[in-house]
């Protein structure tokens, strides 16, 4: 059964006709060509598909596209400000927090969600928060460092802005 879904993706209104069973991640990747959001499993465990829906981190493989009707979705492609990387992206690069890069978009989207709610997380809090994001390359060591550094940079930027 085909349905039309209208939502906002990365600040732009989009409308698409999808099957009822189409997942949000399929809409993003296949219909909208936003291939930065990845699919690494089929049981909502790996977190490679994390996006923000109305500001909350969501595994886009757990949501039907039609459930995103009227909602605002942000993907990794909209995290940088033009050519200026987000401090969290910079922190991932500076701390070598990625190797193959496949889990990275989901990691960064999760990290942003963590820091939004906990601006100064401890190592333990970061590790516990990342339970829903699998990485096979880094052993998480540098991801933890990056999220700490990214959080610090975001706090600094906030202070500077105030």
């Amino acid at each position: 059964m085909q349905k039309t879904v209208s939502l906002t993706v990365n600040g732009k209104p989009v409308s698409a006709t999808v099957e009822g069973r189409t997942l949000l991640v399929q809409l993003l990747r296949e219909t909208l060509g936003l291939t930065g959001t990845h699919v690494g499993c089929d049981t909502s465990q790996c977190g490679a598909c994390v996006v923000h829906v109305d500001g909350e981190a969501v595994k886009s493989c757990t949501l039907l596209a039609v459930q995103a009707e009227g909602r605002s979705v942000k993907t990794i492609e909209d995290v940088a400000d033009g050519d200026t990387l987000h401090p969290m992206q910079e922190a991932f690069r500076d701390n070598h927090a990625l190797q193959c890069g496949f889990c990275t978009p989901g990691m960064i989207m999760s990290a942003l969600d963590l820091v939004k709610n906990n601006p100064d997380p401890t190592d333990r809090e970061i590790r516990e928060y990342l339970e829903g994001n699998l990485c096979r390359c880094t052993g998480y060591h540098n991801i933890v460092l990056a999220i700490k550094a990214g959080a610090a940079a975001m706090r600094g930027a906030k202070v500077a802005a105030e």
């Binding site: 099957e19 069973r21 990747r29 296949e30 936003l34 291939t35 930065g36 959001t37 990845h38 699919v39 690494g40 499993c41 089929d42 049981t43 465990q45 790996c46 490679a48 993907t75 990794i76 492609e77 995290v79 940088a80 990387l85 992206q89 991932f92 690069r93 500076d94 070598h96 990625l98 190797q99 193959c100 890069g101 496949f102 889990c103 990275t104 978009p105 960064i108 190592d123 333990r124 970061i126 590790r127 516990e128 990342l130 339970e131 994001n133 699998l134 990485c135 096979r136 390359c137 880094t138 052993g139 998480y140 060591h141 540098n142 991801i143 933890v144």
Partner: protein, 790 residues
């Protein structure tokens, strides 16, 4: 200024942190079709019929193919790349490995049919309409069961399920050496079966150009040229010139993306037949039941020691699981990448290993990060710790007593390899000092006061990397060369493109190789581009595995740069009106020795492409050189790891409270990237030790761990942070002195963790805890005497 040794930030990261990477599944070809592969739900069954009529008529379906369609087109089977001979000199038994199952299925996940449709949803829906008539037969999943008399046969033509019964060493000598040893320590152990689980599931897109007759395969491979060779020559019979294989950004491999898989052949063949692109992407459950698994050994080991606690003999008997078919390099892993490493870091003079490779009704097993070397290290470092425990001596001291002396290199082991360099004392000292090993007993006592069992474990390791000298591996049965190729193309205005046959799927070659070139040619790193992963661009390549990229691929780049410099000297001599012998090259400048007369490499490049004033009688224009490099020996990274754990005896729950690693990787080009490689390897090694285990139901051969709900992948809160150090002895036979770092962590970590667990359980009569050492296994080990009494 040299770039070697600098922690240069990775040049590939921008695209990955902004979502601009291009993985295979991100690629879509115009008018593309989608393939869904129907897989066996049974471990062992005869296929009595496949009725595809209803599926063929379903909405959107373009074709449904079975092995009969492939046979009609003369499609060959998937080849095995390494021939092993048994003890008696007979060649291994090598049953056919059809692309689609032919008459019989041999593991859960064995591909049976492919449905190709306009959309993936249509292909999946139609697959449910394929009527398969299976006659289910008894299955055998474990090696110990598979070699028992009367066990179900995986292949009718393979008696006893034994692919080969191989050995290395002298059985008479080992019997004598063990017979005269003052003490023999014995242990039975299992090296648990693992699923590699690169985060990017495998994917493949076949494409066919009707105008040129060229086939293109986009695939998640660590070695696109190897896939082109194997698929072109053995399976689809397409000449290399008409077959392009592209491995774009690849999301991790760890060995599992070395092999030529059925799906690659299916989409390439189907695209040619249908004259439309055909795309297939694995679901994670398909990864679990079709990616080659790793490890899965059952081993008995005996270590003989003399009265002075020197190792005098090591005997190893192993059953190694091959799965239902022979994967591309399956046969060399438990032989030449395993038994040849059994000297480890020690002077043991007599070593004998015998290995039976066994077919079972399971997914094929092949190289996974470390590949044979983790299995060798695990048994060796466990038996050494057990010996120390039986002797009542410090395990670090027992190791030092038996280490190969630092002045003994090159050192010929009794198991074929010659180590070129190493210093096992220094890495052990670094790791034990960083771990404050000397003060451990105070921490054990302190933990005991809190009701916790604290233990410390050491493991040293050696690995053979930089794979491999072609003549040597050829003499041992390899059906391929293992050189590497590189092309260094200096452009007219001085920027440089390097085309490398190595393949990066997370290793950061675009950065490390650029550092080599910036250093070698004396140009800014920004002027260097590294290209990999496309058989249409790269001259040739054997790809990335066995920690070979820098040692072999990097050396090929160095050799190509040497040719660039040699030609540049001739051009400079001409321009500077000097003798070629007087031209020196340094920091990007060709200088007449002892003068300030110089030409930059940029000027030389421009002259090479605008050759108005050029030695035409002696040289061709252009500055573009290709080199193939075949290594002279393996490289031998080594190191020492120390794990400290704390166990709650009431629950068996374990926490890693400290993990220190000290590695000798030879010269290090980018320490940031090297540390990242060690972190990742350690995580996989700790995963093997504590969490990961692929489980088959023994009676049915059903795969019980086929998703992330069932297979325990290491998560961030399962792992500690790591304390790393390095101590370099240079490789003596490659120009960089590099050894390779990709597999070390996965090789050394399992034994370090296991030794720490057994140490923590001292006083509970525990000799060994099988991996993965889950809380349940640890709890049972603590309470075994009590449980036995009940």
């Amino acid at each position: 200024m040299t770039e070697i040794g600098n922690p240069v930030r990775r040049r590939e990261d921008y695209r990955f942190i902004t979502g601009q990477g291009t993985y295979t599944d991100d690629i879509n070809r115009p008018h593309q079709l989608y393939a869904y592969i129907l897989r066996s739900p049974h471990a062992s069954a005869r296929i009595d019929g496949i009725d595809t009529a209803a599926a063929t008529k379903a909405a959107g379906v373009v074709a449904v193919y079975t092995d009969k369609d492939m046979a009609a087109d003369g499609i060959g089977g998937l080849p095995c790349g390494w021939l092993i001979h048994s003890k008696d000199g007979s060649p291994m038994l090598e049953p056919p490995h059809p692309v689609l199952a032919s008459g019989r299925v041999r593991h859960v996940g064995d591909p049976v049919a492919v449905v190709i449709a306009e959309t993936l949803g249509q292909a999946r829906d139609a697959a449910e309409l394929v009527a398969l008539n299976y006659a289910v037969e008894p299955a055998v999943a474990g090696v110990a069961e598979a070699v028992k008399p009367g066990a179900p046969l995986v292949h009718a033509e393979v008696p006893g399920n034994i692919c080969y019964d191989w050995h290395l060493g002298d059985p008479g000598a080992i019997a004598a050496a063990l017979g005269t040893a003052a003490r023999v320590v014995r242990l039975d152990l299992t090296n648990n079966r693992l699923v590699p689980n690169a985060m990017e599931p495998r994917a493949a897109i076949g494409d066919f150009d009707r105008a040129t007759g060229e086939h293109t395969l986009y695939t998640t491979s660590q070695n696109p040229h190897v896939i082109r060779l194997l698929m072109g020559a053995f399976v689809l019979h397409i000449p290399e010139a008409k077959l392009r294989v592209v491995a774009p950004d690849v999301g991790g491999g760890f060995g599992s993306k070395i092999y030529h898989y059925a799906e690659e052949a299916i989409v390439t063949w189907a695209a040619g037949k249908l004259k439309r692109p055909v795309k297939w992407t694995a679901e994670r459950v398909e990864s679990f039941m079709s990616d080659a698994h790793g490890r899965d050994h059952v081993t008995h080991v005996e270590l003989g020691l003399d009265r002075d606690n020197k190792f005098v003999a090591l005997k190893v008997s192993t059953l190694a699981n091959m799965g239902g078919y022979l994967s591309t390099f399956a046969t060399c892993i438990p032989t030449y990448l395993y038994a040849t490493l059994l000297a480890g870091t020690y002077t043991t003079p007599v070593i004998y290993a015998e290995v039976k490779a066994v077919f079972t009704h399971t997914v094929p097993v092949d190289a996974y990060r470390g590949a044979g070397r983790p299995e060798a290290t695990f048994l060796l470092e466990r038996i050494v710790d057990l010996a120390a425990d039986e002797l009542g001596v410090d395990p670090a001291e027992l190791r030092r007593k038996n280490f190969i002396p630092t002045d003994a290199f090159p050192y010929q082991t009794p198991v074929a390899l010659q180590y070129d360099s190493g210093d096992y004392f220094s890495t052990l000292d670094l790791a034990t000092k960083a771990a404050d090993y000397a003060a451990f007993e105070a921490r054990r006592t302190e933990a005991a006061g809190r009701g916790k069992l604290r233990g410390i474990g050491i493991a040293t390791y050696i690995e053979a990397c930089g794979i491999a000298p072609s003549a040597v591996v050829g003499s041992l049965g390899a059906r391929a060369g293992l050189f590497e190729a590189a092309q260094v193309r200096v452009h007219p205005t001085g920027s440089v493109t390097v085309l490398t046959g190595s393949h990066s799927h997370g290793q950061g070659h675009e950065t490390t190789f650029a550092q080599l070139v910036a250093d070698g040619l004396g140009i800014p790193i920004e002027q260097v581009e590294i290209v990999h992963g496309d058989s249409a661009k790269i001259p040739y390549g054997m790809g990335t595995y066995g920690s070979r990229s820098l040692a072999v691929g990097g050396t090929a780049i160095i050799k190509a740069m040497d040719k660039i410099v040699a030609k540049g000297k001739k051009i400079a001599a001409h321009l500077l009106e000097a003798a070629e012998a007087d031209i020196e090259f340094k920091d990007g400048q060709f200088t007449v020795a002892g003068t300030d007369r110089a030409k930059s490499i940029g000027e030389i490049a421009l002259t090479a492409y605008v050759p108005h004033n050029f030695p035409h009688e002696e040289l061709e224009p252009g500055l573009d050189e290709t080199a193939f490099y075949d290594p002279k020996n393996f490289t031998f990274p080594s190191g020492a790891y120390v794990a400290e754990v704390e166990i709650d005896p009431d629950t068996g729950r374990l926490e890693i409270v400290n993990f220190t690693a000290s590695d000798d990787f030879g010269r290090i080009v980018n320490p940031m990237i090297v540390a990242g490689q060690v972190h990742g390897g350690l995580a996989q090694g700790i995963g093997q030790a504590l969490l990961e285990g692929c489980v088959y139901d023994k009676s049915t051969g059903q795969l019980l761990t086929a998703s992330y709900n069932d297979y325990a992948m290491p998560r961030a809160d399962d792992l500690p942070s790591f304390a790393l150090s390095t101590h370099a002895t240079l490789c003596t036979h490659n120009p960089l002195g590099v050894k390779g770092c990709g597999e070390a962590g996965a090789i050394g970590a399992p034994a370090a963790i296991s030794n720490a667990i057994v140490d923590a359980l001292k006083g509970h009569g525990v000799r060994h805890v099988e991996m993965p050492a889950t809380p349940e296994k640890i709890w049972r080990a603590i309470h075994q005497q009590q449980l036995a009494a009940e």
